[in-house]
Amino acid sequence: MKKLINDPQDVLKDALLGVEAAHPQLRVDHVNRIIYRANPKADGKVALLSGGGSGHEPLHGGFVGVGMLDAACAGEVFTSPTPDQMQEATKVIDRGAGVLHIVKNYTGDVMNFEMAGELAGAEGVEVATVVTDDDVAVQDSTWTAGRRGVGVTVLLEKIVGAAAEEGRDLAAVTALANKVNESGRSMGMALTSCTVPAAGKPTFELPDDMMEIGVGIHGEPGRHRVPLAGAHEIAEQLVEPILHDLDFTGAPSIVMLNGMGASPLIELYLMYGEVARLLDKAGVKVARSLVGNYITSLDMAGCSVTVLKADDEILKLWDAPVNTSGLRWGL
């Protein structure tokens, strides 16, 4: 295992020290592993909390700041944070208008946030929850834990963050969050496995001439192992299931071409070119796009595509100012 780390058990602790040192606009609670805005938002506005296992950076800590999240809870690598972390964060960021929990649909995350919601509710904080589940790689969702929450989480945190900043109430913010989640679809692939630091070796072995289609963001094997193909074919294998799942024509879309962590930007742009061409051919109108590493899987090489069916309201919220370490414009 070749990583820029000290003791594999200390990766999260050590990385949070770096986050704190790099970003004066953030405040890090090292005991509870929470990243806050240094300057809380105004009283009376809905606050946004997200969190999840570490190893997906910049998600979620990189999206804490004006226009997005108020705080993010960091779990161990690929392990949901715990209810006490979430409860603490919820209490701290509540400005009296309630807190929206943004939860990716994994059994662990859902259960821990559920417990946190109960605890915070008992303490008088109004909590609402949106569970993202946009991964079309998961089929037969009635026979599974449901679809995984992946790329749409990034777009949702931006859009809903802008709505909260505007001063909308908890019901409106939550309704918008659900609408965004329902309007987005993602599909991912891997060229290589990642290596969980504490495990010390790759989660799965992938021969040089094979790739995994339909992976999530936890280094899990995907739905199919298929022969390695060119960018053009890979793009088809990602875009086709997305378009098959939802009709994106007739509305402006926001598209994200996301890197899994170890694929360089030149490859991500190349993939985006392929994806944009396919979407164009299918009559999908791309209004906004994002190319880069936004929701990663440690040192996995690969990428994912997210398409979100937007409307004028969503585009306006998308364009609203945001100032986080991972996404920033207008500020």
Binding site: D84, T107, M111, T144, R223
Partner: protein
């Protein structure tokens, strides 16, 4: 020789033995979780049980309700993932079921374990055959109850439970997972043991060991 009642310190030995076992089998549990999950189950259980025993090292509560509440809360707040709330709930419910006692008879232990399993089901909604820890615990507790009904001591019942849980764990191998992250793999989840079934069969084996030794 096993005895008819189980004092609390025997259950503390159980927890200590389980801590040692998950640390020892950490790589194995992670291996299982690598095949159909996200390669953290070994680390999760080792971290959680280490935290549990560190907490108890600072002082062991005198009654079962306090002991297991402490164990459950420590797991809930130190593990995360799916196993944190599930194992945490298991112990929290055990404590609630047992009440402020300092010694279990067989029936009380069976009831506490059963309450724990019910808590797991309440949290995780697992059903038989979903390929989860339920599939080791449910047959294990079934065997515990059956052994008691036939007059066995708690230690004998625990040994029966462990054996049944191990069979339940092994039975998960060919199944397609329907709960937890293994379910995302669909057909590809078949052919591998469920990591949570493995760690919970181990939990009952440690119980048998703790009650069986004297």
């Amino acid at each position: 020789m096993s005895t008819a009642t189980v004092p609390l310190d025997r259950l503390v030995s159980w927890l200590g033995g389980y801590r040692d076992a998950v640390i020892e089998q950490r790589a194995y549990l992670t291996e299982l979780d690598s095949a159909i999950g996200d390669a953290d189950h070994g680390a999760n259980m080792a971290r959680g049980m280490t935290a549990v025993m560190d907490k108890l090292g600072a002082g062991v509560p005198a009654t079962a309700d306090e002991l297991f509440k402490s164990v459950g809360m420590t797991l809930v707040t130190s593990v995360g993932g799916a196993s944190g709330p599930l194992y945490g709930t298991f112990f929290l419910r055990m404590g609630m079921s047992a009440g402020a006692i300092a010694e279990f008879d067989g029936a009380a232990l069976a009831a506490a374990l059963r309450a724990g399993l019910d808590g797991i089901v309440a949290r995780g909604k697992a059903e038989a055959g979903d390929k989860t820890m339920f599939d080791a615990l449910a047959p294990g507790l079934g065997a515990f109850d059956a052994a008691l009904a036939e007059g066995a001591s708690p230690a004998e019942a625990a040994a029966a439970a462990a054996t049944a849980a191990e069979a339940g764990r092994d039975a998960t191998k060919p199944w397609v997972a329907r709960k937890g992250r293994a379910s995302y793999l669909g057909e590809r989840s078949a052919g591998h043991l469920d990591p949570g079934a493995a760690s919970s069969a181990l939990l009952l084996r440690c119980l048998a060991d703790a009650l069986g030794s004297s």
